[in-house]
Symmetry: C2
Subunit: 461 residues, 2 copies
């Protein structure tokens, strides 16, 4: 159990006194429609970068806006901490998802509006609000005390919502300059209101397409049916072989490299207040599924999967067409956990498909996409400091959560810079990050500023 | 073995003498673009009916063109045969398939052209040429001998290529008038050049759609994968349960009502000169499939099937999208043989699907289409007469063939009129019935006229 950090009173007083202005600034930031996916918003994306640049420079950071082949990176540095102090890198993004469908927003997407203690706007929680609370905490230190206890690099990109294509090369290119002792990212959610959370794991991915080809064209199912291997049936039998009857993945070697999660982490996950009945009801299903022997959260956060993402064969329109398809297509992806290797899992899956495919069809396997799983080491000064800081700001010790999806940049920071990554997010379930009526809670915005302001002091301690 | 019939010399001489005129008339018929599927050809369809009406009236038939809710039926009768003579009904259709893509025709679709002894035109073999050779044979009898040995009804419809929707009600409505001892249809192909064929079986159909629904929307495969039953995986496992490992249909009760084909018929089919290697090569597959213990022709003609016609779930576009689909759709159809009942097979399939579907998904089964299988009784005066007539015209005894597809009107004639149906077609493999460069061989056109002219004499004998 962590002990709660006590926020320095000067920082607390400054944040209290400037609360309205910090809201106003955030609202200005949120009004810029920096939709990275749409070329008509290219100028807005740059405007958001410039807005951020101005504010980082204003609070005392040496700031640059660096071009990439896509949207620019804002890079700001403050390196005047006492000798021996650690250097931290704060990562965030200033681009946002498209706001469409606009008619489903209660208030306009780019006109921030407070309702019921939540700030509604596109980007409020993903990620402008969470990036801005970091900037505010840095300003609190510099304004209230004239200094920071650690050296700080702020790196904000404008392409997170379109795949961060140019970020890994950027980190690689500026590797020396970005060298640091810790990477801190706030772009995730807490487990539940009032429960601060450290996100400790992300799943990796191996995504494949399987094309099964039978006869050289679609055939008449009457004239040929019963004498030819049907590629759709063959594909269905291949897919059926991916799991055993209980729901375990049945691809030989699939689980071999899985490194079990520590008992303490599993125990913590089992203790989380997760309502399986509500989850089931929310999805409108009569039962959940998956691998036996694990709770739902363990299945989502700690176990690998093999899921069909798409199927296509033959006639799929209205009514009846008596075609015996010439081809059948499968999209399938495995979510991975440490230490599964995406390339190796792809090879195992391909070998399995080729082995079970019947004579009479040919199989083509295309490896579309892969990404490494990531798991934090849940000990050391960075995590201890984070636990104390979150405990102090939220009044309770943080829980350890996982994430079933992937955030590729986390692995990039960890592997290129060799620094531990800390994921502390202040969003909440239901925040509509990529949907209409996106919001961040004002309470979490305020407690988030306090938590990260405190974190820098705790890191120095 | 049949003995060859000897065509009456007066009939033979008349057919020889009128060969050019019979060709010319057929060409005129073929020039009418009576495409029943296209509303812009409605007038042409009627023009073809009127053309046929004129010719049937000219040769001495009492002829009417009767409207239906769709295209008209031409009904012609000649009932002056000696007392006690049988009545035969000749069925054919004067509508044709669309000719598109026009650019793939070597000569224009509606300008009949002879090349290498074949008449190329849309409708040449399907079915104007085969209908016309019947009219020519009737004219031979009436012109050369002034009479026919049997009473004859000619029924020609204009909706065969669009599903014969109004034909069964028409037959039902005119049941008394259409009462007959035999129905003769020439709208099929011979097994091979020089080998006259009696088509003795058609498969039936039970066509279903299965919709598997899991969660109430598509989910993120990272955030939910591993904890939810994937409807696409569930559907694949359902499809995989349709067959055993050897290729037999594994739906309980599926084969219960199957009436085995007589040994003699199977023996005949096995004796047909069928080149399995060529068939395999033509389809560009490395092996054939299907139920063990049967030859390819037996599988196609005498055994029921369960074939996937379509599959659709999740993301099917280019590249990778990490979706866990909310739904998955299957189109599946069973080809049936006597005495399988389409409704019963549909029920068995639905019950099986519901039984094997896992918890966590719901299943909806829609019965889209059904049709009875049909099998000729291969004995009796009609078949003996046909065998002799074909043997005489082609110089060898006919073979018994089957057809893997369905021709629903055959079952309608058999069940509504209670008369045996004789299917003797004069098309050939590769005739391009529904494709560009459709053709009928002149040799088969001529031998076909002689065979059916002879048939009426043989029926009287």
């Amino acid at each position: 159990m962590s002990t709660p950090a006590q926020l320095d009173s000067a920082l607390g007083a400054w944040l209290d006194a400037n609360d309205q202005r910090l809201h106003d600034d955030l609202f200005e930031f949120l009004r810029i429609p920096s939709v990275s996916a749409r070329s008509e918003h290219t100028k807005d994306v740059r405007a958001a970068a410039e807005w951020l640049h101005r504010h980082l420079a204003r609070i005392g950071f040496a700031t640059e806006t660096l071009d990439t082949p896509g949207h620019p990176v804002v890079l700001a540095e403050w390196r005047k901490a006492p000798k021996g102090a650690p250097t931290v890198l704060i990562y965030g993004h200033y681009d946002v998802q498209p706001a469409e469908p606009l008619e489903l927003w209660t208030s306009p997407a780019f006109e921030p509006t407070i309702r019921n203690g939540n700030i509604y706007a596109r980007g409020s929680v993903d990620d402008k609000g969470q990036l801005w609370l970091h900037v505010a905490a840095l300003e609190a230190h510099l304004a209230a005390r004239g200094t920071l206890p650690v050296n700080v690099i702020v790196l904000a990109e404008g392409e997170e919502e379109v795949g961060s294509e140019h970020l890994a090369p950027f980190i690689e290119q500026h590797k020396q300059r970005l060298a640091c002792d810790a990477v801190v990212i706030s772009d995730s959610t807490m487990f539940a209101p009032g429960i601060p959370s450290i996100l400790s794991s992300l799943r990796g991915l191996a995504y494949l397409q399987v094309d099964v080809t039978g006869p050289n064209s679609d055939l008449h199912s009457g004239m040929y049916g019963g004498a030819v291997v049907n590629p759709a049936t063959a594909l269905a039998r291949i897919v059926a072989s991916f799991h055993d009857a209980e729901g375990r993945v049945a691809i030989p070697g699939f689980y071999d490299k899985v490194r079990p999660f520590p008992d303490a982490v599993r125990k913590g996950m089992r203790a989380l207040p997760f309502d399986e009945a509500e989850f089931t009801q929310h999805l409108a299903v009569d039962a959940l599924g998956g691998e036996p022997g694990y709770t739902t959260l363990e299945k989502l956060w700690t176990r690998p999967t093999c899921e069909v993402n798409g199927l296509l064969s033959g006639y799929t329109g209205e009514g009846a067409k008596t075609v015996l398809p010439g081809q059948a297509m499968l999209k399938v992806s495995c979510r991975l956990v440490p230490d599964q290797d995406p390339a190796e899992i792809g090879r195992l899956l391909e070998a399995h498909v080729r082995k079970v495919a019947p004579k009479g069809v040919t199989v083509k396997v295309t490896h579309l996409h892969g990404g490494n799983a990531w798991r934090a080491e849940l000990e050391g000064p960075l995590y201890d400091a984070a636990a104390r800081a979150l405990h102090g700001a939220f009044g309770r010790a943080p829980v350890i959560t996982g994430e079933g999806g992937s955030i590729p940049v986390v692995g990039d920071f960890a592997s290129i810079l060799g620094a531990p990554v800390l994921l502390i997010g202040f969003g909440l379930p239901g925040e509509n990050a990529h949907a209409p009526d996106e919001w961040i809670s004002q309470e979490n915005f305020r407690k988030g500023m306090r938590a990260v302001a405190s974190l820098w002091d705790e890191l120095r301690t």
